[in-house]
């Protein structure tokens, strides 16, 4: 085991997969000579050079398309969006091209590509730079959507994503890049896509959290344990699509209560989807309506106090758990 930041865990995953498969390359804005806007690709260009680590012009639609075409022709591109906000310019290539190519070609053309970068809010970067886009992409068949919340998950899931033959939307979180965690050192350590992880065992209430809300949910769980002696189970789906609903349902069959904490906007969110699937599979086990906590229904404001107010927090999660537990 090594103690790594999520940033370095992602960096190791990229490095190991570049070494493992000559068809893997990383492409994006500032990923090479600048070491990455958020330093996830630090040192890779110096080690592997122009062929494997490629700086692009600011042309999201164009380089996403280059990735799709290169993947169809046998490469395994890892395309970095400096942030996912900018991927909206490339959405046509992800949704209309990458996601549909295998189907449109009757199974002939695989598109083994990973689109990755920071998703969600950062620190006061305002409306156009703070969006969480998991629901935006997860709606479309043909894509897998991944959201790690720990260093080990980040590394294991990214390695699996790069080895996967499907187009993958890999969503990181800038606020989390510096968070540390133990990571297995085995070169072939991977985490299968589509398997949720129980981050904390509990019996009275389930919280489903992802990405940035996982650490918040864990803190909330501790507070609730000590304050109310209520034991909270925290589940991190890790892969949003395909979603491991069984792990969530099994937890609810035990706790009979569910809180969903997400950084994205709420309308038609992944939290809404989980609610539907839970109702579909465990309606009779729910002792309270599912409670969803999302980002405020407003573009992200710049002001420090308003930004804090807009985002999920430990306090808000505690309040939600109390609500579903009728405390």
């Amino acid at each position: 085991m090594a103690l790594l930041t999520i940033r370095d865990a992602l960096n190791e995953a990229l490095r190991e997969e570049i070494l493992r498969d000559e068809n893997v390359f990383v492409m994006g804005e500032e990923v090479a000579e600048y070491d990455g806007a958020y330093k996830v690709t630090r040192g890779l260009w110096k080690e592997f050079g122009d062929k494997r680590v490629v700086d692009t012009p600011i042309t999201e639609l164009g380089f996403a398309a280059v990735g799709v075409g290169a993947a169809m022709a046998g490469l395994r591109p890892v395309i970095e969006f400096m942030t996912w906000n900018f991927s909206i310019l490339a959405a046509d290539q992800i949704i209309n091209h990458a996601a549909k190519m295998l189907y449109m070609s009757g199974g002939q053309f695989k598109v083994p590509i990973v689109f990755r970068g920071p998703n969600g809010s950062a620190y006061q970067v305002s409306s156009q730079h703070s969006q969480a886009l998991e629901a935006f992409y997860a709606n479309f068949p043909g894509l897998k959507v991944v959201m790690p919340s720990t260093a080990a998950d980040a590394k294991g899931l990214l390695k699996s994503a790069i080895r996967d033959d499907n187009p993958i939307v890999f969503l990181e979180q800038e606020r989390m890049y510096g968070m540390k965690g133990e990571v297995p050192e085995d070169l072939d350590f991977t985490i299968p896509l589509g398997v949720a992880d129980i981050k904390r065992e509990g019996k009275d209430c389930t919280i489903v959290a992802r990405s940035m809300t996982v650490p918040l949910a864990l803190q909330a769980a501790e507070l609730i344990q000590t304050e109310f002696d209520v034991s909270v189970e925290v589940i991190d789906p890790r892969t949003i699509k395909p979603l491991d609903i069984d792990t969530i349902v099994n937890s609810i069959k035990k706790t009979n209560r569910l809180v969903i904490a997400e950084e994205s906007h709420e309308f038609a969110s992944v939290g809404a989807e989980i609610t539907y699937q839970v109702m579909d599979h465990a309606f009779d086990y729910l002792d309270a309506p599912v409670k969803r906590l999302s980002c405020a229904e407003a573009p992200m404001p710049y002001a420090k106090n308003l930004e804090a107010l807009a985002l999920p927090s430990v306090e808000k999660i505690v309040a939600a758990v109390k609500e579903v537990c009728y405390l």
Binding site: N23, F25, K51, T56, P57, T59, L61, G62, F63, A64, A65, V66, G67, V68, G69, A70, A71, M72, A73, G74, L75, D92, Q93, N96, H97, M101, L102, Y103, M104, S105, G106, G107, Q108, F109, K110, P112, P141, G142, K144, D164, D165, N166
Partner: protein, 384 residues
């Protein structure tokens, strides 16, 4: 702007290029420009100029044809005729309700597909838009697999999942058949990127219409291709209309070839009714691509003889305009040259036509008999 200007610039940029795909001196270009309707500030109907230029080079072309392999010439003509007859049949069966959805025909543009793709090696890659039936066949797909796809049948090249707009064949390096105007320009650039990365020596032909040039991805792609020196040949099939909109109503400039200069990319303007001129220009571009992996933009001007798709009333252009262009039917022009070169006789032509008719009839019969895809197919190929 006066056409001559464009051309001189084009000539200036890429030594061995010209407005019609074989070296001409600026002086006589300037002369022609006077006769050009464009220079006269008329509409973009320059069919007379194109014909004049064609006649000028006809003699040298006939000599060139004589030197070419007769089997190749026959195959070129056969593919053009097959494409024509195949598309006419599509129109017929579409009206009978055998084909659904959109159906875009290639009639009038056969010289572009044949002149470009038949200059390729088998291993070279091709990607195109939704007007793809004939191009798919030129790349080697059987009329059966294309027609069955149009019928939405199991025997189609993608098992009925794609239809008219989405023909694919991995074995034949045919990367589809795409429906988002301009999207394939970026994807094609990525295919060329892979060829360079893996050093396979493959060239990528990337087809798109003149209206797709207005999409931002055209600009983004050409910049990357030139910046990174990718072996990609961008082929703008300028059939002068995007649905009901003429180039003039959608584009602020006339010359598309010249747009390559904004990226310092080699470019040529080519007469798309002259299959030999198309072939020559493509060979020059292929050489550039294979030699130092540098890209080329070819603007190949033709004309769409039919509606944009089967559902297009086509009120946006006059009968006269269509007839004027049909006088330069690429198949007729090619046959004339072949005859003048004494390579083929009318009897050969009849034979070729007969073959094509039978091939298309076999395709229809195959498509008719092919079953609909199994219902389980709905959920296959969603994920690998």
């Amino acid at each position: 702007m006066p056409k001559a200007a464009t051309r001189q610039k084009t000539v200036a940029k890429t030594n061995k290029t010209s407005a019609n795909g074989n070296g001409q001196k600026p002086d006589n270009l300037a002369k022609e420009a006077k006769t050009s309707p464009v220079a006269k500030g008329l509409d973009f109907v320059d069919v007379d100029v194109a014909q004049a230029e064609f006649l000028e080079r006809r003699k040298s072309q006939i000599t060139a044809i004589k030197k070419l392999d007769k089997k190749l010439l026959r195959e070129m003509l056969y593919q053009m005729v097959l494409g024509r007859i195949f598309e006419e049949k599509c129109a017929e069966v579409y009206r009978m309700g055998k084909i659904g959805g959109f159906c875009h025909l290639y009639i009038g543009q056969e010289a572009i597909g044949v002149g470009t793709m038949m200059a390729l090696e088998k291993t070279d890659m091709v990607i195109t838009a939704y007007r793809d039936h004939v191009q798919a066949m030129i790349k080697g797909m059987t009329p059966e697999s294309v027609m069955a796809e149009l019928y939405g049948k199991e025997g189609g090249c993608v098992g009925g999942k794609g239809g008219s707009m989405h023909m694919f064949s991995k074995d034949l390096e045919f990367y589809g058949g795409h429906g988002i105007v301009g999207g394939q320009i970026g994807v094609g650039t990525g295919m060329a990127y892979a060829a360079k990365y893996k050093n396979t020596g493959q060239v990528t032909l990337c087809f798109f219409g003149e209206a797709a040039v207005n999409q931002g991805i055209f600009h983004e792609s050409l910049n990357m291709a030139q910046l990174w020196k990718l072996p990609c040949i961008y082929i703008c099939e300028n059939n002068q209309y995007g649905m009901g909109t003429s180039q003039k109503r959608a584009m602020s400039s006339r010359s598309i070839a010249k747009k390559a200069e904004a990226f310092e990319m080699a470019n040529e303007f080519v007469d798309g009714m002259d299959v030999m001129a198309v072939r020559d220009a493509t060979l020059r571009a292929i050489e550039r691509a294979r030699k130092d992996g540098s890209p080329t933009l070819l603007e190949i001007r033709a004309y769409r003889f039919m509606g944009h798709s089967m559902s297009d009333p086509g009120n946006y252009r006059t009968r006269d305009e269509i007839l004027k262009y049909q006088e330069r039917d690429p198949i007729v022009l090619f046959k004339d040259s072949l005859k003048a070169a004494k390579v083929f006789t009318d009897k050969d032509f009849q034979e070729i036509e007969q073959e094509a008719i039978e091939a298309v009839d076999r395709a229809v019969a195959f498509a008719d008999e092919s079953p609909y895809p199994a219902e389980s197919e709905l959920f296959t190929d969603v994920l690998a």
